[in-house]
């Protein structure tokens, strides 16, 4: 008998209408339908959701941890990219 792991799926749950689907974990399942059911059983048993997405984990391209410095640190000193950097003229009123 061959021992084979089921593929891994990432689970995204929308907790209520108007909110985004949020990543909440992963499940092992043989296919999309079974992954959907596993996600329902594992992640919505305390009324956490109203909609589920499951995505094959291997369909996600992820940034590499070792690229962290070159990808993200250059943004750290560009505070002028935040709207809070700018003074709002009095005449503009509340934004």
């Amino acid at each position: 008998m061959t021992e084979k792991e089921w593929p891994l799926w990432e689970v995204f749950i929308r907790s209520k209408a108007g909110l985004d689907h949020k990543h909440c974990g992963s499940v092992h399942a043989s296919d999309a339908e079974m992954a959907m059911e596993a996600a329902r059983d594992v992640y919505t048993r305390r009324s956490e959701g109203i909609s589920i997405w499951v995505v094959p984990s291997n369909a996600i391209s992820a940034s590499k941890p070792e690229d962290k410095e070159s990808l993200f640190e250059p943004a750290d000193d560009k505070i002028y990219r935040h709207p809070t950097f700018y003074d709002i003229p009095k005449g503009a009123g509340k934004m």
Binding site: H28, A29, M34, E37, A38, R40, D41, V42, R45
Partner: protein, 256 residues
């Protein structure tokens, strides 16, 4: 033989439907810490809790109707083997994963039709319990159907094994469509479900899924009966209540 009063019939009826939920729910709970994957274990525990929840509501209604100061716990923990009138299909051992899935599928397909009909009962409480339970059993049917299709249409080994499970458990399905005296009495008042009328729909639902699963519908041979009508169980039943009732029998009134 004394005439069965409508009140006694209603107590029997509610308790007997509850027995189905409690016993199959207990069987499924036996998979706790033993299922082949975490996802499957949680799925089975969710089903078990739905089914035991249905039993609790039905036992509570039976106790209230009976009006002898008893509670759901008396029905679950303090009755003897012959007082339980669950369908034999709910009490046979879990066997392997395929046996468990086949049993859940056959029972869920039945439960969906049964609770849909019960939701139209003239008895408001039974109708409410029926309406609430439909949603739960629809998911059980979906979960078990998807598994059955994959096992049947999977490898030659999974196909052969699950066909064998089906052939073995099929003998217990005849009892699903039998009527007790209490049911016949309550049916006249529009309270009980005519389960004999569910058979044609059940056959259709089951054969649709079995066809998708490339499995063969077994022939209706000699049905195994006895529990629903008379409380005559399989040899496995005593072990279930020994396990399930141990705490209340050993420490009467124990709470935690």
């Amino acid at each position: 033989m004394t005439e069965l009063s409508k009140k006694d019939a209603l107590v029997q009826y509610a308790a007997q439907i509850g027995d189905n939920g409690l016993i199959i729910g207990h069987r499924m709970s036996e998979w706790c810490f033993r299922a082949p994957a975490l996802e499957m274990e949680i799925a089975l525990m969710n089903c078990a809790l739905d089914l035991i929840g249905q039993a609790r509501e039905l036992y509570t209604y039976a106790a209230v109707t009976q009006d002898e100061g008893k509670s759901e716990d008396d029905f679950a923990y303090l009755r003897d083997e012959q007082d339980f009138r669950n369908l034999l299909l709910t009490e046979v051992p879990n066997g392997d994963w395929g046996d468990t899935i086949v049993r859940l599928f056959l029972m869920s397909a039945y439960n969906k039709l049964f609770y849909t009909a019960l939701a139209n009962s003239k008895d408001a409480q039974l109708a409410a319990i029926g309406a609430k339970s439909i949603k739960e059993v629809i998911y059980h049917q979906r979960f078990s159907s998807e598994w059955l299709i994959r096992l049947g249409d999977g490898t030659p080994e999974s196909h052969d094994r699950v066909q064998k499970s089906l052939d073995t458990l099929w003998a217990y399905t005849g009892e699903l469509f039998t009527m007790t005296d209490a049911e016949t009495l309550l049916l006249a008042d529009g309270i009980a479900v005519d389960v004999t009328a569910l058979k044609a729909d059940w056959d259709q639902v089951v054969s649709d899924v079995l066809t998708q699963a490339t499995l063969t519908v077994p022939a209706d041979l000699w049905p195994q009966l006895g529990s629903k009508a008379e409380g005559r169980h399989t040899e496995h039943f005593g072990f279930i209540i020994t396990d399930m009732q141990f705490m209340q029998r050993r420490y009467p009134g124990c709470e935690w």
